[in-house]
């Protein structure tokens, strides 16, 4: 088997096309981003080399620190929201006894299918202070919780994070569904013979086997949170003021509104580095457990099947 998997020609044929396309179309531009972050540059012409000046300015910039804080909030909100709901819904929908599961499955995914513009306009309407649905509901229920949802300098970021989480939950749901579908059904049968309840079966079989899928979900949520942009751009324009700025927004502002392209590229470089750190941490966190649990699971299965 080992020989089978170290077929050199196959490796080259499999890995090279993707690597080549990616290197030319994405990696090369990323290199440009890093290079230009050392320049005082307005986006046109050649600019002047200024070493680390952009970075020192960036670290002193209060908006940079605010952006990092916002990214953290954003990432945590969407991770918790999406992973919890996606897990619950995917298990519910894959339960064959659940009535109307086909309908539920399509429904949960619908927000993903719509463009961000549509979803943001919808939430702008719902969250409007005077004419919005949300405040109207609170009013009708007699709960004194009506507020300026997107005009609060401390809370607006949570509200926007929620909108993002709500729209893309369906995607993690679909990924988990696909994962569950790939688990051969005799695994569950084996677990049932073992006398496990269905919740137990999911905890013992589904969730450990979906480790890799969860890793993906975590990677998407965290990096998605760190580089969040579109929702802010459409809903609050980074506002009120700069209360919902993120690093991407800071980059955009510097490059296209202030013509400080070099500075914007420094922000973008920091963003890439942060995401890289996140993925390395995730890989490191998951590595040990993943291999251990895989081995354990395989052993258990083998034992159960042989009995």
């Amino acid at each position: 088997m080992k020989k089978f998997y170290s077929n050199k020609i196959a490796i080259v044929l499999f890995a090279l096309p993707a690597l080549a396309l990616f290197t030319v179309m994405v990696f090369y531009p990323i290199v440009q981003v890093f290079l230009k972050s050392f320049y005082d540059w307005n986006g046109l012409g050649s600019g002047t080399f200024i070493g680390l000046d952009n970075y020192t300015t960036l670290f002193k910039d209060t908006v940079f620190h605010l952006s990092n804080k916002n990214a953290l909030i954003f990432a945590i909100v969407i991770t918790v929201f999406q992973m919890t709901l996606a897990t619950i819904f995917s298990i519910v929908v894959s339960n064959k006894k659940m009535k109307g599961r086909g309908f539920l499955r399509v429904s949960y995914f619908i927000p993903v299918v719509l463009s961000v513009t549509v979803v943001c306009q919808l939430w702008l309407a719902i969250l409007n202070t005077d004419t919005g649905l949300l405040n109207a509901i609170f009013k009708a229920l007699g709960i004194d919780f009506q507020q300026n949802w997107l005009a609060n300098r401390h809370k607006a970021i949570y509200v926007i994070a929620f909108v993002n989480a709500w729209q893309w939950m369906g995607y993690q749901f679909a990924l988990l569904m696909a994962g569950i579908k790939s688990i051969p059904s005799d695994y569950y049968e084996a677990a049932k013979i073992d006398g496990a309840s269905s919740i137990m079966a999911h905890r013992k079989v589904t969730i450990p086997l979906l480790k890799e899928t969860y890793k993906i979900c975590l990677t998407i949520s965290l990096t998605g949170g760190v580089k969040a942009f579109t929702e802010m751009f459409i809903m609050t324009k980074g506002g009120p003021g700069n209360a919902t700025y993120t690093l991407t927004y800071l980059m955009y502002k510097a490059a296209f509104r202030e013509f400080r392209y070099g500075y914007g590229m420094a922000a973008a470089s920091m963003l890439v580095l942060q995401c890289l750190a996140i993925i390395l941490i995730i890989n490191w966190l998951f590595r040990d457990k993943e291999e251990r649990s895989e081995r354990k699971c395989n052993k258990r299965m083998a034992r159960q099947l042989s009995q």
Binding site: N42, G43, L44, G45, L124, L127, N128, T129, D130, G132, N148, L150, A151, N152, R153, M235, T236, K237, G238, G239, P240, G241, N242, A243, Y252, K253, F256, R257, E258, F259, R260
Partner: protein
């Protein structure tokens, strides 16, 4: 079922590839044709001397143009100019690409890749950026030879020349003004006097709020209008307003700017604007005013036609209120608004740069005509000899009567030349729209931006 889908997909693919290829081939052919003909015609036009009446040139070319083309205010002038172009330049075809509302990303990319269209609309901050990199043509000669320079109103000379004395763009909009609109019917219904001082304004706000009327609707999603609101207040204390800061003639720490920030903060706290002000877009705020849900509205003078169409005699404008009656009277000649050396620019690397420049000048002139004739605004850059198709709205006549007395104007947000200051001003004035942002923070941030 699956096979069927696969078949359909394959079919779509094959057809689309074929279409794509053949289209491309056609393109190339067409391009070759036009380039050939331009070469031949440019030589012939120099020989012919007498042109038919109304024809300015018989040169043949297809020019790419990047211009705003989305609403009545941009479509009407453009369509009119294109019609006129057919007469004056019968062999010039324009290929329009509508401008994206993308903070200039596309134009910037075009400049970076050398794909700039022959003619493009440009704002002042971009001009500063483009002239450093040789992406914008100096139009001094063309402005003379086409007579454009002579047609510019004396009062609008400020919007023809760049700071360095050159002409980089043919303007069409003249000096424009930030106008404080109000709904007379609502004011009368609730017995509110048109406020002259901020105290009266605060009383009016209280009355309107008590009756469920939004005192003033504002599209705070856009930074330029919040900047204009701040500028209106700042000019009550210092006629220079935000223009003075932009020109580097003052600092944000001066009394006038702190007082204006305090005042705006007070008005916001009093509830002058609707709840979702920071996320309200232009149409939303405008609809609130036009539907009688808001008593006042701040916008440019170009809004007069729309407002009159919907509200008739009920809509009027007022002088900006001030801190006391004396300054209110004195401030009647001090306005927020202005103009800038921006408009239609030309790509110097265009194959037909000379022709494009002439066409750009022609387009700007026709824009002025169309704006006077069909859009009810005489505030254009050029002295054009046309009559408005319908009478100017009453509000416009009132403004026109005041124009000669105006002693000072500032700048619109998009006419600011210091991009860092402009960005900070937009963000920070939007920030002031919420109650828990303090004027002190505002002044501090503005000052930081100015020092960069």
């Amino acid at each position: 079922m699956r096979k069927l889908t696969a078949l359909v997909l394959c079919g779509v693919l094959c057809i689309s590839t074929l279409v794509g290829c053949s289209k491309k081939a056609n393109n190339e052919k067409a391009e070759n044709k036009t380039t050939n003909t331009t070469e031949t015609t440019t030589t012939t036009t120099e020989e012919t001397e007498a042109l038919p009446e109304g024809v300015l040139s018989e040169e043949k070319a297809t020019l790419k143009i990047y211009a705003q083309y989305a609403d009545e205010d941009t479509k009407v002038p453009y369509d009119y100019a294109v019609e006129q172009l057919k007469v004056a330049y019968p062999n010039v075809t324009l290929e329009l690409e509508p401008q994206a509302q993308d903070d200039g990303q596309k134009l910037m990319t075009y400049a970076a890749t050398g794909n700039l269209p022959d003619i493009y609309q440009v704002a002042l901050a971009q001009i500063e950026n483009f002239k450093q990199s040789g992406n914008i043509m100096v139009l001094n000669d063309v402005a003379k030879s086409t007579g454009f320079e002579d047609k510019v109103f004396d009062s609008a000379k400020n919007i023809l020349y760049n700071e360095d004395g050159n002409i980089y763009a043919f303007p069409y909009a003249g000096n424009e003004y930030v106008v404080w609109y109000y709904n007379k019917a609502i004011f009368e219904k609730y017995n509110v006097e048109v406020p002259k001082t901020f105290d009266q304004l605060l009383t009016a706000i209280e009355t309107f709020k008590a009756n469920g009327i939004v005192p003033m609707s504002m599209f705070g999603a856009e930074g330029w209008i919040t900047a204009a609101m701040y500028d209106v207040l700042a000019t009550r204390w210092d006629a220079g307003g935000i223009a003075k800061l932009d020109n580097g003639e003052g600092t944000a720490k001066e009394d006038a700017y702190a007082k204006a920030a305090d005042m705006l903060h007070t008005l916001v706290k009093a509830g002058m604007f609707q709840g979702s002000v920071t996320t309200t877009n232009y149409d939303q705020a405008s609809e609130m005013f036009l539907n009688g849900e808001a008593a006042m509205f701040l916008n440019g003078q170009w809004y007069m036609t729309d407002a009159t169409n919907k509200l008739g005699d009920d809509v009027d404008w007022m002088y900006y209120p001030s801190y006391d009656e004396a300054s209110y009277e004195a401030g009647k000649t001090v306005w927020s608004g202005g103009g800038a050396a921006a408009g239609y620019a030309v790509n110097p690397n265009s194959k037909n740069a000379e022709l494009a420049a002439k066409v750009a000048a022609f387009l700007s002139e026709k824009y002025c005509e169309a704006k006077v004739m069909y859009r009810g605004t005489p505030l254009v850059a050029l002295d054009v000899d046309v009559q408005p198709e319908t009478e100017f709205p009453a509000m416009m006549k009132k403004l026109q009567a005041d124009l000669p007395a105006i002693t000072s104007i500032t700048k619109f947000d998009w006419h600011l030349s210091n991009a860092t200051f402009k960005t900070a001003l937009e963000d920070q004035t939007k920030y002031l729209m919420i109650e828990d942002y303090t004027p002190e923070e505002f002044i501090k941030e503005l000052n930081n931006a100015l020092q960069q």
